[in-house]
Amino acid sequence: MLKIKSYVKVKNVAEAYELNQKKTALVLGGMVWLKMGNRNISTAIDLSGLGLDTIQEFDDEFVIGCMTPLRELEINESLNEYTHGAIQESLRHIVGVQFRNCATVGGSIWGRYGFSDVLTMFLGMDTWVELYDAGKIPLTEFVNRKKDNDILVNIIVKKQPLRVCYMSQRNTKTDFPVLTCVASMIGEEARTVIGARPGHAVVVEDKDHILKNFKNMTKKQREEAIRKFAEYAAANVKTSGNMRASAEYRTLLVEVLTKRTWETIGGMKDEY
């Protein structure tokens, strides 16, 4: 059970940062994960009075407040238009509507959880996190950063010409994923992200440049490249076993989902 000594609804992010420097202080997100821990919190920091629960669209970027519930992202029209519905697909399997009304995007990203659909999805775009102290850094860098006492304020998605496809494999419809996968063309960059390995999501580095120039390939070239890259991903993405699935099965899924997401990006298949 969670024991909280004092509760502070902060007036600004600076106050939150200040309070958060104490080891036993904690920033509250949507509480869905947090409450499961057995911990004593001296100061619970509530950011909900700061208006950080909106999705703002600008010409060149989306700015998503850390307290935005996952459900808001899921039904946000412009984000879904931008991602061709991939945002919705990445979120709609997470437990249920009520859960997604509680869970916040900041909580999901900050936690850098291995099972995170959200982290996988955002890694598939040109995403930056805005931290109070460290400023704006790319999400790809943030995932490997050690947890500290900074405050995650906003998540910023830079608008690039984007083609993106999200897929996950689950043992039941609303369970944690056994594997998550994103394929995206961010401008000219072909990016593949694999999550729930069950370690946290990683960008698959295309060292052999198999997908280089994917945009300009013929259909046949694409098919060949996808086949090769799916095999490459299976060989290079580290997976392991847990109670949901073995490492071997996850590796099989890396190949299948990589192939399928890229086939969708490449226009070969509409749906699976």
């Binding site: 969670l2 024991k3 909280i4 000594k5 004092s6 509760y7 609804k9 509250l28 949507g30 509480m31 869905v32 409450k35 499961m36 919190i41 619970a44 509530d46 909900s48 459900r71 709609r92 437990v95 249920g96 509507v97 009520q98 859960f99 009304n101 509680c102 419809k173 609303t174």
Partner: protein, 155 residues
Amino acid sequence: MNISFWLNGAYRQEEIEPGMLLLDFLREKGCFSVKRGCETANCGLCTVLLDERPVLSCSMLAARIDGKKVVTLEGMQREAQEFGSFLANEGAEQCGFCNPGFIMNVFAMLNELKEPTEEQIKEYLAGNLCRCSGFVSQTASILKFLKYKKAQEEA
């Protein structure tokens, strides 16, 4: 700490412990329809409406309702009776323990989606578990209720 909020339409001010969960707080205030089925935000039994949105009161601090409107099934008795009779006609209520949270989320769904398809119903209510019914009769009740509502509107 002190919070002020609306509970089922009535404005209230209360002194609470900061770590108190909304679920426990609501039961303490006599809202016994709010049930705990798990502690991990997975079953939907504790669903209440917070500013018209369905949330899980087991995973929310009571502190978070400050300045907001909370509605439980106690505040929607007329609606519960109307929709509930459709459940009862199918035998779908069974043990009844999941009913209040389920019904609150049905109300949230009908608020958000005008004419939900069967698939949309299943997706919207996926976070409401029921171990008795196998869900088939619940879906049938909702579809019949929608039909009844539509006929009522057209009349």
